[in-house]
Amino acid sequence: MTQENDAAAASEGDVEFVITRVFDAPRDLVFKVWTEPAHLMQWWGPKGFTMQKCELDLRPGGTFHYGLRAPDGSDMWGRFVYREIVVPERLVFVVSFADKDGNIVRHPWNAHWPLETLSTVTFAAQDGRTRITVQWVPHNATDKERETFREGRESMQQGWTGTFDQLTDYLTKA
């Protein structure tokens, strides 16, 4: 995480979303697989989705514009704008939902979700394996956007997600 990120998060009191996982592969390979279109097409997106477009310009200010087709045939588009690239240890980029032309858009269901979030992905080498940590935080956000993000994150507290499942089961039978 850059000092800039630290300072920004601390001063805004933003809640971060963080996920982390260890992969059984060397760091150089993992970083390559995150930053080359031919590789990204093989794994980026949820199960059952296929990548329809993968245009990547890996440099500060460059963009990654992608389209993912869901099993039901619907398309979702996203865009990264890279801010910082430190091979093979860190990627920092601004993420947004997008349209097919690469313009950033708001999610149609959620007017108050941040238009832009700043993501920091770090790759840490551990005995021939790699720990990836993804952290994201609202970027250039309004108070309302930050509040929505924070509450969305709090809604997903550990222990509640199990309850969500039970509730969803109940709701589908109701």
């Binding site: 093989q42 269901w109 809604s155 509730l167």
Partner: protein, 118 residues
């Protein structure tokens, strides 16, 4: 769906007491008094929570003058769940696919770029 419905739902769900109230309503309608029972807070405090849940469309209140039972409403909760789960699922499943892909690459022997990992 109204585009600000989700943020109202997140706000409603961001409180542990309100989440607990919803979890109880999953087993059926309850009166305000019944809902207040497990908590060490006053009835007016519970009512405030119920208002937030009602405004977010997560519960409805019966019109019976004697007692106004609270009922869980499916759509808002399902929509919020879908949104939040979708976010989490994107990353979890991408990571699952990344894991499988890396195994495949290693098996194919393209992992010879081992770099200078220590």
């Amino acid at each position: 769906m109204p585009s600000d419905r989700l943020s109202a739902t997140f706000a409603a769900l961001a409180d542990p007491t309100r989440r607990a109230i919803l979890a109880r309503l999953a087993s059926g309608e309850r009166s305000v008094t019944e809902l207040a029972e497990p908590f060490e807070i006053t009835l007016p405090a519970v009512s405030k929570h119920l208002k937030v849940l009602e405004r977010a469309g997560l519960i409805t209140r019966g019109r019976d003058a004697q007692w106004r039972p609270c009922r869980l409403e499916g759509k808002a909760l399902r929509d919020a769940t879908e949104w939040l789960e979708g976010y989490r699922r994107f990353w979890d499943e991408s990571f699952d696919r990344l894991d499988a892909y890396l195994s495949e690459l290693k098996a194919r022997g393209t992992a010879s770029e081992r770099g200078n990992d220590v």
